[in-house]
């Protein structure tokens, strides 16, 4: 037809009402279904295999495989117009942003104030404790599973108020590994933050460093599952940098 009667988004359409869509053969669906069953059994095996802290990433990897199988084949994303895949991936990116920044905040709450001994600490006010379980003998000092240590006042500070005249403040280096971020700290931190952005939320958990546990004494280091595999390159770089005290003198300059 010389003058096409029907247009779609500015482009003339030859046969307006025919559309051909990809029809997946049945054996392909069955193959995908069997793969999914196998992966489910794999998740089961992973949980009993006692991989310890690595079991979370492995379980997530298997779940992502199953998820992508369902999305690509059962929902025909593989054969559809690329735009639907783009829409789906954009929403995954926004979820990743949501996870990464929130977990980044949760895991670095103590970065700057470690020096002041203020721990990011969960504690429950007295009434709530009294409400929850009637007053029995206070739990022993480091109880298993009770992550928040019984409410301990922050470590005694060298307080100048009690009549002792204030000594000269220690040079950051003398105070052990200087951990204050210097003026250039931001560049490296932000770059590692961006690198971590791709790393997904889970890997932002604080790495266990025995040094920290030793220094903290009774502080139950967060050696829970999923931590021992350590932060990703981004967070690792941040932690190494912060602990190396390379820029500690700058903080000294700042601090005076």
């Amino acid at each position: 037809m010389s003058d096409p009667k029907v247009f779609l988004n500015g482009k003339p359409v030859e046969h307006p009402h025919e559309d051909h869509h990809h029809v997946t053969p049945v054996w392909q669906f069955t193959a995908v279904f069997i793969a999914l069953l196998f992966l489910t059994i794999l998740t089961y095996a992973v949980s009993f295999a006692g991989l310890g802290p690595a079991s979370l990433p492995v379980a997530m990897a298997v779940a992502i495989c199953k998820g992508s199988l369902v999305v690509l084949f059962f929902m025909h994303l593989a054969y559809e117009d690329r735009f639907y895949a783009f829409v789906f991936v954009v929403s995954l990116i926004f979820i990743a942003i949501f996870f990464t920044f929130t977990l980044f905040d949760m895991s670095t709450t103590d970065e700057l104030n470690e020096e002041a001994g203020i721990e990011f600490q969960r504690h429950v006010m007295d009434q709530a404790e009294a409400l929850e379980n009637p007053p029995e003998p206070p739990p022993p000092k480091a109880t298993v599973g009770l992550r928040p240590r019984p409410r301990v006042r922050p470590r005694p500070r060298v307080s100048t108020a009690a009549g002792t005249e204030p000594q000269a403040p220690l040079h950051p280096r003398q105070r052990g590994l200087g951990r204050r971020p210097g003026p250039f700290f931001f560049g490296l931190h932000f770059a590692s933050g961006l690198a971590a952005l791709g790393g997904g939320g889970q890997r932002w958990l604080r790495p266990t460093s025995s040094l920290k546990a030793a220094r903290e004494g009774g502080y139950v280091a967060q050696n829970a599952v999923g931590h021992r595999c350590g932060g990703c390159t981004g967070h690792g770089a941040m932690a190494i940098y912060a602990r190396s005290g390379v820029f500690a003198p700058h903080i000294g300059v700042l601090r005076r």
């Binding site: 002041a116 969960r122 006010m125 009294a130 500070r157 307080s159 100048t160 108020a161 903080i251 700042l254």
Partner: protein, 339 residues
């Protein structure tokens, strides 16, 4: 633990600035650099505002319609100009960011040798615990009005370790340019070094309920030499000579903010009113009833959840360990005197 719903106008602090147009007093080490950045921001944004709106007015005047069919310019874009007006603002923004970030890092890392004062925010009043002073109450009597008083020495770093007992509050001292939310369930902290003597108001800047706008306190900066004496004076709560037991009881009543929940007449507030309480028989939540005598009042102060009056919920915090015996006797005497 002293507070009273201070109508702000009675707070008695010197006005922060004489005229609205004068800048705030710069009374802490942070204030200097922050005000510098504030002035730079005002200058840069002011100039860019004048440039943009000035050009707009000029175009409005020059290109107003002369006749129905006068020709207009075919200009649709100009790559160089568009790049310039993206890059230049970006540079200024980076300058603001870096200066702001450096100050923020300083604001967030208190020196190790600072005085550590515990601040507790509670629905509608502040409590300050000085190191080495048992009594958490600090009072500052100003013609009968009591405000929580934070005494700090001049020229010395002070770190406030803050937590809240119920909802999120926020400790804000405008004159020192410091502010931090006081979050229940964790410690947050703020540090400063006061550089000017005098009294400065403290505000709660996170909405926390009915009396959010009366949750005020006073920061008093004193010379370092008489800092200890001031703290001692502010945290003692004894019977002054020539003061009757009931008068001292009333001071204790206000010091421990009993009035934030109990009225001195018989009307209900958050808790039951004290008017005519002594000798009355109270029926309790569990159906039994008890005669309100001394040890009932004493027990309700020490373990408030033991006997709950019918129709009330167990919200009262326990005062055991914060109130000593003379204060308790005076308080009971005062409650007995209420009709």
């Amino acid at each position: 633990m002293i507070a009273y719903f201070i109508p702000p106008e009675k707070l008695g602090t010197p006005p922060m600035s004489d005229s609205p147009w004068e800048l705030l007093p710069t009374a802490s080490n942070h204030a200097q650099s922050l005000d510098g950045l504030y002035i730079l921001l005002t200058a840069v944004t002011g100039i860019s505002f004048v440039l943009v709106i000035g050009t707009m007015f000029y175009f409005m005047w020059k290109y107003k319609m002369k006749s129905e069919d006068d020709k207009t310019s075919p200009l649709t874009h100009n790559g160089k100009l568009e790049f310039a007006w993206s890059a230049i603002p970006a540079i200024f923004l980076m300058v603001f960011f870096v200066w702001g970030e450096l100050d923020f890092v300083k604001l967030s890392s208190p020196p190790a040798d600072s005085i550590d004062i515990h601040v507790t925010g509670q629905k509608w009043y502040w409590t300050f615990e000085y190191p080495g002073r048992p009594v958490a109450a600090t009072t500052e009597v100003e013609d009968g009005e009591i405000a929580p008083l934070l005494v700090v020495p001049k020229g010395q770093a002070v770190r406030l370790t803050m937590t809240s007992k119920d909802v999120i509050h926020s400790f804000y001292i405008p004159a020192f340019r410091v502010k931090k939310d006081v979050v229940p369930g964790r410690y947050t902290y703020v540090w400063f070094e006061a550089t000017e003597l005098g009294d400065f108001p403290v505000f709660c800047t996170e909405y926390c309920g009915d009396e959010h706008s009366s949750m005020l306190a006073v920061v008093r900066v004193v010379e370092p030499e008489d800092y200890k004496a001031e703290v001692a004076a502010a945290t003692t709560l004894e019977q002054g000579e020539g003061e009757s037991l009931e008068q001292f009881g009333e001071k204790v009543y206000k010091a421990f903010a009993c009035n934030s929940c109990h009225n001195t007449d018989a009307t209900r507030k958050v808790g039951p009113g004290f008017g005519g309480l002594y000798g009355k028989s109270e029926n309790l939540a569990d159906g039994s009833s008890v005669e309100a005598d001394e040890n009932y009042i004493r027990e309700s102060i020490m373990e408030p959840n033991a006997k709950i009056v019918a129709g009330y919920t167990p919200q009262m915090p326990s005062f055991a360990g914060q109130i000593n015996d003379e204060q308790l006797n005076a308080l009971i005497a005062y409650i007995k005197s209420l009709k």
